[in-house]
């Protein structure tokens, strides 16, 4: 299977196999006009198999979102057909408007215009707590 190389854009590599559609949605890639290739179950020496997303347009990728979804993802920046930067993401200490609190007593439930802020409380378990009410949210992925 051949997917063309991109000239200027972003390649998200080392995505856990099967998770590329989640990333597509969280990064709102459906709103882009450019070509976006989602490549699933690519053979990988390190991971067995993996997913890759190629975005054929320069864009700022929300590294916090990627770090929250999967801290193993690498972000490759492509300019004139050449990789000019490779970024490793990490579990973000703070999430803003990525997930929402599910505690019915939390102020963010009754006032949804408030920023949904979560703070990393347990990196080993990937647990985040709502900055408003302390309700724990285990990492979804």
């Amino acid at each position: 299977m051949n997917i063309d190389s991109i000239q200027n854009g972003v390649v998200l590599d080392h995505i856990q196999a099967g998770k590329s559609m989640d990333i597509y949605q969280y990064l709102h890639l459906d709103q882009l006009d450019c070509s976006v290739a989602i490549i699933k179950n690519v053979r990988s020496g390190r991971m067995g198999k993996k997913d890759i997303i190629k975005i054929d347009s320069p864009m700022e990728v929300d590294l916090d979102v990627l770090g929250y979804i999967d801290a193993n993802i690498t972000v490759n920046i492509i300019r004139d057909g050449v990789r000019v930067d490779k970024k490793h993401v990490e579990l973000p200490k703070r999430l803003v408007n990525i997930i929402r609190c599910k505690n019915p007593r939390c102020i963010t439930m009754s006032e949804p215009q408030l920023d949904a802020i979560f703070l990393l409380s347990d990196p080993a378990r990937h647990t985040y707590r709502c900055a408003y009410c302390d309700t724990a949210m285990d990492k979804k992925f």
Binding site: N103, R105, C106, I107, T108, M109, S110, E111, Q113, L114, D115, R129, C130, A131, Y132, C133, D134, T135, A136
Partner: protein, 306 residues
């Protein structure tokens, strides 16, 4: 010193010790403090009714020579018209030098603190936090026992929804040599996240039981709580659990002679009125201490020193 007091852990133990020292000086020398907040205004914004906490804040500010404004229920504020917490706080910030707010929704004071430079004091947010009650409890324990360590404290009643318990456990876990006994029905046990943060991460031992009478002889402090109707979604659960623990003079027979009985109040029936005459009952002194520690806190957040 932080600008706001949203959670008791916003304060270091050194800052808590300073507040307690100031409160004790206020108790000993009230005249020295009677005009230190002249021309300063405290807004008490109570989106949920309260007698003790609101009057305690107002009394504290008046005793410092300041003045107070505010409302005592959401129905008498623009919240009834659909105004957000943020907009109410924006508005009140134009009139007041410091704000004490109580709100039924958890995290409302944190939301408030995002939109203003005026110091915000959390006077209770739903079942979440009540840091000034914790300061009150700490001052009372300090005055009763002479220090904030070296004792066995029992928490009894609703430990699940009891925000005063969560905050006090969190605050005390930073002090040394305290043994904790958690007494509650199985359905109202202290939440796991509170135990993890306060005890497990610090390697602090604790005991859990459903039987008050079997543990009462060990206790130096007994912190009683009310089972709060307003925290239950289900009335049946409330009715089943509300009378789980009722402290009577008979149950105190085997308690230590220097036990201190604390309660954040209001009580319903969990402490029999007959216990009020027992010299070990410290809960009315606790109410008075609440005013003094709030005086110390208001001064600190306004940057006033004497």
């Amino acid at each position: 010193m932080p600008r706001n007091l949203i959670d008791i852990t916003d304060l270091s133990t050194q800052e808590i010790d300073q507040l307690i020292a100031t409160a004790e000086d206020i108790i000993d020398n009230p005249v020295k403090y009677q005009s230190v907040c002249a021309h300063k205004q405290l807004a008490t914004l109570f989106f949920e009714p309260s007698t003790r906490t609101r009057l305690s804040f107002e009394s504290a500010m008046l005793a410092l020579g300041g003045s107070v404004l505010g409302f005592s229920s959401a129905s008498s504020s623009s919240t009834a018209k659909g105004e957000t917490v943020g907009d109410t706080i924006h508005t009140v910030s134009c009139y007041a030098d410091i704000i004490a707010m109580r709100h039924p929704k958890e995290g409302a004071p944190f939301a408030a603190a995002q939109v203003t430079e005026v110091p915000i004091i959390n006077a209770g947010d739903g079942g979440h936090n009540h840091p000034t009650q914790t300061l009150t409890d700490l001052l009372t324990i300090h005055r009763e026992k002479g220090s904030l360590g070296g004792f066995t404290i029992g928490f009894c009643g609703d430990l699940k929804f009891g925000r005063t318990v969560h905050s006090l456990v969190s605050a005390l876990s930073r002090y040394e040599n305290i043994h904790y006994v958690l007494i509650s029905p199985l359905e109202l046990k202290l939440p796991r996240y509170v135990k993890e943060e306060a005890f497990k991460k610090r390697g602090i031992p604790y005991t859990q039981t459903t039987d008050l009478e079997s543990v009462i002889p060990q206790l130096d402090i007994l912190y009683m709580t009310r089972v709060q109707r307003e925290r239950f979604f289900n009335e049946e659960d409330y009715l089943r659990l509300k009378d789980s623990y009722i402290l009577t003079p008979e149950k105190l027979v085997n308690a230590k002679p220097d036990l201190s009985i604390l309660h954040p109040l209001p009580r319903v029936n969990e402490i029999a009125v007959a216990v009020d005459k027992d010299p070990r009952a410290a809960y009315w002194k606790q109410v008075k201490n609440g005013k003094y520690i709030r005086m110390a806190l208001i001064m600190k957040l306004l940057g006033i020193t004497v």
